[in-house]
Structures are given as structure tokens and as C-alpha cells.
């Protein structure tokens, strides 16, 4: 403390109107290190303009980007059991939940909304990685079940967008049970003949990848997303060697036959709309096309073939 900071500066500051300066105007690309202005990031959908790295994005931005005209209706999720084990490590689980709720302004790690994508009615369940690493506990299970039920009710397609480290340890065995629970939920969508598409984003691992996230009719992954079962560190300590470059990245999964396509974020909405249109026999504008029921004579199978 000296007279300068103590006296002169406050005086100078009071001369100009005090302005609120948000401290998060600039973001750093985790890959190339470039500083990017927040408005530019929103414009590029959180894809780095310098290195094309796909950064994690908020659930709101994700939903705005996916739905036609950024128009959708969020649904309220049921209030289920909270902290079933009264779990406590260095901190109470209920406190961790409160922190995450305050930070994200959401109740838990999944958001469910319905609207149209490429003109096709869809229900989207999107994970919020900022909420305890997108981990799956009962509330997330509730979200997936609700999304699946809504899709069946509305005769809509289901799109799930995981961004999750896996099961939520703080709910113990009940989080493991959500793997079976969500598997039943998405099976019901498929049994109704409705498309179930998984849009794998960074990261999709553990109990989430080993349940509904790998059971889609179609798997679309974002470039560079980490997708796998075991965490890279666990594997490294098990096999005691360095992992190959690109291991568990979206492109590696494509190579290994685990995803259908790796799609740039700027082309995602279009790709989803087109794919859904094809699956649901609709034209590009989402109009239902008549399906030929009576085949013309020329389509009859040749005898003896």
C-alpha cells in the first residue's frame, strides 16, 4: 500500500464511470494456445479458427446449434432421489451438487429439449460436461428415460449428445444401475421404429460409453473427441507403456469401426437433418414422401434368382 494505490487510483476511478468488466472475454484454445474473443468463438461454434480444434461448448449453445432456427422447447425433468448413499469424501456430495448447480444454473448434468432438426421432429438429450464432468447418476438416468419416453410419445427421433466421464461415483451402485436403465430406455425407442442417433462429443467414456452411447442406430462423432471405455491413465498404468498418438480419438474409432462418421461441427446440423430425413422417408424440407407400396412390374424378382 502506498499513497498511489491508496488514494490517487480510487479518485481517478471515481472520475470515470465504474464499468463492469467481465473477466471471461477471451478464451484460450487448449490445442494451439491462441487467444480468441468470446464473440468470435460463438460465431464459430467454439471451433478454433486457427487450428480447427473443437472446444467444449455449453448445452445452450449446443441446442441452439442443433435445432432448426434455434427453436426448441426444454422439458422439466422429474425430481428424483438426491444423494441416495449420503456420500461424503473430502466434501459432501450434496455440497458438490450445490456448487455445480450454482455454477451451471442447471439441476443436473443432462438437459432434454424437443423441436425439429432438418424438419424432422426430434427429442435431444444433451449432457453438460461442466456439471460434475457430465457424470451419470440417477438424475441423468431420469433425463435419458424422459427423453426416450417423450420420443415415443411424440413419434420423434431421439438424439443423445453425451459429454461425460462416466458413472457418478458418489451414487455408488445406483449409478452403475443407470447403465442398464438407460439401455432399456433407448431399446424402447428403437422398438418403436424410431431413429436413435448418438452424437459423441468430447469426452464420452466409462459407463456412459458402455451403455446407451454405443447403442445408437447411427454414431456421429465430433473431430478429436475422446471416446472409449477405460481412461487413458488407467490403461497406461495397467500396460506400463505410452499410448499411441490419437488413441481413443474420434478418428481412431472411425478407423476401428465404432462410429459411422466424424463430422465437423459446422456441418453437424445439416448432417443430422439429412440422415434423419433419409431414415424417416422425408424430403430435404422435412415433408413426408409417399412410400411406394405397390412395386411396378419391372421390380418383380426374376424367377430363379
Amino acid at each position: 500500500m502506498n499513497w498511489l494505490t491508496n488514494f490517487v487510483r480510487p479518485k481517478i476511478q471515481s472520475l470515470v464511470r465504474p464499468r463492469e468488466v467481465p473477466d471471461n472475454l477471451w478464451d484460450k484454445c487448449p490445442q494451439c494456445g491462441h487467444m480468441i474473443f468470446h464473440r468470435d468463438l460463438a460465431k464459430t461454434l467454439w471451433v478454433c479458427a486457427h487450428c480447427d480444434h473443437h472446444m467444449r461448448m455449453s448445452v445452450k449453445a449446443r441446442l441452439d446449434m442443433l435445432f432448426d432456427g434455434a427453436a426448441y422447447q426444454r422439458i422439466e425433468l422429474p425430481k428424483g432421489l438426491v444423494d441416495p448413499l449420503k456420500f461424503r469424501d473430502s466434501k459432501r456430495y450434496t455440497d458438490r451438487l450445490k456448487d455445480s448447480q450454482a455454477k451451471t444454473n442447471e439441476q443436473d448434468a443432462v438437459v432434454v429439449a424437443h423441436g425439429r432438426v432438418g424438419g424432422v421432429p426430434v427429442v435431444v438429450a444433451a449432457f453438460n460436461f461442466a456439471f460434475m464432468g457430465g457424470s451419470m447418476g440417477i438424475a441423468v438416468g431420469d433425463g435419458i428415460v424422459a427423453a426416450a419416453e417423450l420420443a415415443v410419445l411424440q413419434d420423434a427421433a431421439l438424439i443423445v449428445v453425451p459429454a461425460s466421464g462416466g458413472a457418478r461415483m458418489q451414487e455408488g451402485i445406483l449409478s452403475l444401475m443407470q447403465m442398464a436403465r438407460t439401455t432399456v430406455a433407448v431399446a424402447k425407442v428403437r422398438e418403436k421404429g424410431l431413429p436413435f442417433i448418438v452424437l459423441l462429443t468430447d469426452p464420452t467414456t466409462g459407463g456412459v460409453s458402455a451403455s446407451f452411447a454405443m447403442l445408437g442406430d447411427i454414431h456421429i462423432a465430433e473431430p478429436g473427441a475422446v471416446i472409449g471405455f477405460a481412461g487413458a491413465r488407467v490403461i497406461e498404468t495397467t500396460i506400463r507403456e505410452k499410448l499411441p498418438p490419437g488413441f481413443q480419438r474420434a478418428e481412431y474409432l472411425l478407423e476401428n469401426g465404432m462410429v459411422d462418421m466424424v463430422v465437423h461441427r459446422h456441418k453437424l446440423a445439416e448432417t443430422l437433418g439429412r440422415t434423419l430425413g433419409l431414415l424417416r422417408h422425408r424430403g430435404a424440407a422435412g415433408q413426408l414422401l409417399p412410400i411406394a407400396v405397390d412395386l411396378p412390374d419391372s421390380f418383380e424378382a426374376e424367377p430363379g434368382v
Binding site: L81, L174, F229, G257
Partner: protein
């Protein structure tokens, strides 16, 4: 006999008994008395420590090397056992055993994780940690059982799915997900018995059953206590605390309605008397299978699915 840390006083007494037995050739009568006295003490100690095992102690018992494994249950309980191998895609994974056989006269499909008994067999079975091929084989066998209307029995005993580069490359996550899906889809009874360690996704891949039995001192958890401790406590030493917090014991899981019934173990754990442990599991299996046999396939499937859809409605008081 392998002794666990908390069994040290028991081990000492049993050592003494053993010494006295060697002495008793020199026909002194009070030696026999002394042995009896010590044996009573051992039983009392066993009853005392096994009556109130902590979750961490149960974790150790569940992993005890002398504990009966899936192959022991199959050998003792399944006649005409006919092992079936391979996932028809890539390989045969010996971490998961499977095959047809008869349990009390009835045709069954048996699938189970096998940890192995000695170094050689442990390596062969990869310590019970399956790769995608193992889960794909399990799926194939469950579908076959469904096709021929044969009940499925699974024995769960794994630290978890194998975390390796090859396993990831061949789709470990997808293989587990499909195995869970098949468990929930078949129209035949699916009875799961957690005989030792129920480790995370690798366990539930075989355990999404109609009836889930658990041995008294077995564990079933979303993550190992060590793994949980290193993530949440940032220290592997906190495994004891993590085991408490995770509520991974059969008793707690029954309270949470995750499992249906607990099979009592012989005094001092299944490893002290494998014969008795296996017999008591068989009684429980028989009862469970008999009640499932009365239910029509579609209803079995619907009830199994509804049960798992309800998971997470009941917490601990």
C-alpha cells in the same frame, strides 16, 4: 491357506493348534484338551471378526485367492458341462467361461468370469478381466439360450473389464453395452450370482438379470475402492474410506433393492469351506430358478426391464 491382515490373530492360533497336533504323538492327554480349547477360541474369533466385517475387509475377502471361483461352481454344480468358445468375430476370451450343462437335471447356459487359481491359470484367464471378445461371447451364448429356451446362469467375479489398448481398439464399450442390452432382451430366466468381486461395467455386463444373488461377503460396485480413493481422495490409501462410502456390501445393496437375496457363507468366509459355500449357493439358485420357471418368457423380459427402469428410487435411510 492365505491369511488376510485382519485374520492374523486367527492365523496365529491355528498355527499353534497345528504345532500341538504334531506334539500330540507324545500321547499327553492335556494336549488334546488344549487343542480343543484353542479351536473354540478360533471359532469365537472367526465369529467375532466375520460377524462385523467392514466394507474394506469384505473387499479383501471377496478377492481372497482361495475363494471358490466360477470354475469351482461349474465343476461341482453343473453336470454334462459342455464348454462353448469364441465370439465368432475375433477370438476366444478365457476370462469368461461359458457353456451348456445341467443344473439339477435341467439344461442351463452357464456364463461366468474366471480369475484363475495359480499364476499360470491367472494369466490364461487374464485375472478375470475380459476383453470385448468375452462380452461378445457372453452375448452369443445368451442369444443361443434364448433361441433354445434354456435358462441362463451367470457367475460374476471380476475386477472389471480389461483396460488395454487392444480392448479399446476392438470396442470394449460397445461390447459391454451390447451384453447389457442382451441381458435385458432375452425371454428366458436370467439368474446372476455375484460370487466374489462385482467390478463395474465388466460385472453388470453379465448381471442385468431377473434375480441377482450375492454371497454374504462379496462386493458389487461402480468402481473399485482404490480407484475411487485415488480420484476423490487423491490418495490410494483412502481405499478404506472409499469402500465405506461406496456401500458396496451385499447387505447395503439389498437395502438399495439392487440385489434380491444374500447367500450366507460358512464361518470365516467361503474360502474356509468352499464345499459348504457352493452347496448353499446351489440351494438358493434352485429356489430362484424354480420360481422363474413358472413365468412366461415375455413377462420375464418385461419384469426384468421394469426392474432396471426403477433403479434409483430407493436410497439408504
Amino acid at each position: 491357506m492365505n491369511f488376510l491382515d485382519f485374520e492374523k490373530p486367527i492365523a496365529e492360533l491355528e498355527g499353534k493348534i497345528e504345532e500341538l497336533r504334531h506334539l500330540s504323538d507324545s500321547d499327553e492327554i492335556n494336549i488334546a484338551e488344549e487343542i480343543n480349547r484353542l479351536q473354540v477360541k478360533v471359532d469365537r474369533l472367526l465369529r467375532a471378526s466375520y460377524g462385523k466385517l467392514t466394507p474394506w475387509q469384505k473387499t479383501q475377502v471377496a478377492r481372497h485367492p482361495d475363494r471358490p471361483h466360477a470354475s469351482d461352481y461349474i465343476e461341482r454344480l453343473v453336470s454334462d458341462f459342455t464348454p462353448l468358445a469364441g465370439d465368432r468375430c475375433f477370438a476366444e476370451d478365457k476370462a469368461i467361461l461359458g457353456g451348456l450343462g445341467r443344473f439339477r437335471g435341467q439344461s442351463v447356459m452357464v456364463i461366468g468370469h474366471e480369475k484363475g487359481r495359480d499364476t499360470e491359470s491367472r494369466v490364461r484367464h487374464n485375472f478375470g478381466m475380459a476383453r470385448p471378445e468375452g462380452y461378445r461371447k457372453a452375448r452369443r451364448l445368451m442369444e443361443m439360450a434364448d433361441h433354445f429356451s434354456i435358462p441362463v446362469i451367470t457367475f460374476v467375479d471380476t475386477a472389471g473389464a480389461y483396460p488395454g489398448v487392444d480392448a479399446e481398439a476392438r470396442g470394449q464399450a460397445e461390447a459391454i453395452a451390447r451384453s447389457i442390452e442382451t441381458c435385458l432382451d432375452i425371454r428366458v430366466p436370467l439368474l446372476s450370482v455375484i460370487i466374489g468381486e462385482g467390478g463395474s461395467g465388466g460385472a453388470i455386463a453379465l448381471a442385468a438379470g431377473n434375480t441377482i444373488l450375492m454371497l454374504e461377503h462379496s462386493i458389487y460396485s461402480v468402481i473399485s475402492p482404490e480407484g475411487c480413493a485415488s480420484i476423490l481422495w487423491r490418495s490410494g490409501d483412502a481405499a478404506k474410506d472409499a469402500a465405506e462410502a461406496l456401500h458396496l456390501t451385499a447387505q447395503d445393496l439389498q437395502r438399495l433393492a439392487v440385489i434380491d437375496d444374500i447367500v450366507p457363507e460358512p464361518l470365516g468366509g467361503a474360502h474356509r469351506n468352499p464345499e459348504l459355500a457352493i452347496t448353499s449357493v446351489a440351494e438358493h439358485m434352485d429356489r430362484a430358478l424354480k420360481s422363474l420357471a413358472l413365468v412366461e418368457g415375455g413377462v420375464l423380459r418385461a419384469r426384468r426391464r421394469d426392474k432396471f427402469l426403477e433403479m434409483g428410487k430407493i436410497g439408504l435411510p
